[in-house]
Amino acid sequence: MTLQSNHIPTETDLIQGCINGDRQMQQLLYDKFSAKMYGVCIRYSGNEDDASDILQEGFIKVYNNLDKFRSEGSFEGWIRRIFVNTSIEHFRKKVKFYNVTEVQENTIEDNELDALDLLEAKDIIKIINKLSPGYKVVFNMHVIEGYSHKEIGDILGIKEGTSKSQLARAKGALKKLLETRLNKAENDTTIL
């Protein structure tokens, strides 16, 4: 399919064009989703170089697997899942999860992290990226992406309890980081 001057391709056109290997359609798909998916990659990777590699790998997977998309859910959701999985694959080599005996962690309520709402997204990401890779992945998957602990356990090959404890620790670490940042900001303000 070639792009006509007045024709705005629909999602179906984009999908079909990409399946047919139409480079123009592939670029349109890239333009439409690259910024959002790069955001996902940055959240998981923590640095731009790795995020760029994941983005590239993810889009190649998208182009090669578009014929498997069944239009049952949202197209963006399907693409996002590919990028999340690619990010996880990318870091599975680096991150080792240990199945630990389930220990009652100090539960941190979400409202204790409300201070995050005061920050810009890129600043939140900076803080999240200070977490250890294991904490960061579980936090991203559960809190941001909405995966259940069972799903996280299946994807990462860990026990459900391990996922829960990783999240609890991630939240604890995040709380400390947030407090440090807020204290620093307070101090900076006082000095000023």
Binding site: R23, R43, S52, Q56, D117, I124, I125, E145
Partner: protein
Amino acid sequence: MQNSKDKLYNYETPPPEEVWSNITKQLDNEKVNKMPFKRRSRILFYATTAAAAIVIIFVSNQFFNKKTATKPIVQNTTVKVDQLLSQKIRDSINLNYQILETIINAPEDQKLLAYNHVKQEGFAKKYITIAGPEDQPVKISPKVATLIISADNEYPPRLVWDKKIDKWKQIMLNSTLSPTSTNLMDIFQTAAANVE
């Protein structure tokens, strides 16, 4: 915290420009790499089809051969011969056997030339080449040659020979074979005439 969740979920930031060019390069490479695979697949497809065809032919051949082999060949041949041979031909063959038997069982003083020839070593394998009426060479099998030579003798009686030759002529005239000057029967009669 919900606010920050949404912010993170929808967070967008433009990727470096070189990512798209890297993707196109990779896609082009995959295309190039995929081509030979497609060709290989096609070759593999044809090779498999050819192999399958050969196997099918071989198996069917074996199957039908087996089927043919299981049939009683002797019986089949006998039936065919019976169908092909008319009564006249059968009579002729019987007469031929009678003559040969008579020659072989003839008393010592009436031994025929043919018999002597048969006794000679290697005779049965030899063919006799005679000159036809138009001086053309005619190759005669040892069996027929024996009969021709035996016609030279008194025994079996001339009447028997004439009867046999007439019968053969009749058969040949009734068949699709058209008698010519080089016809075997003519040769017989020529030989008989020469004897007379």
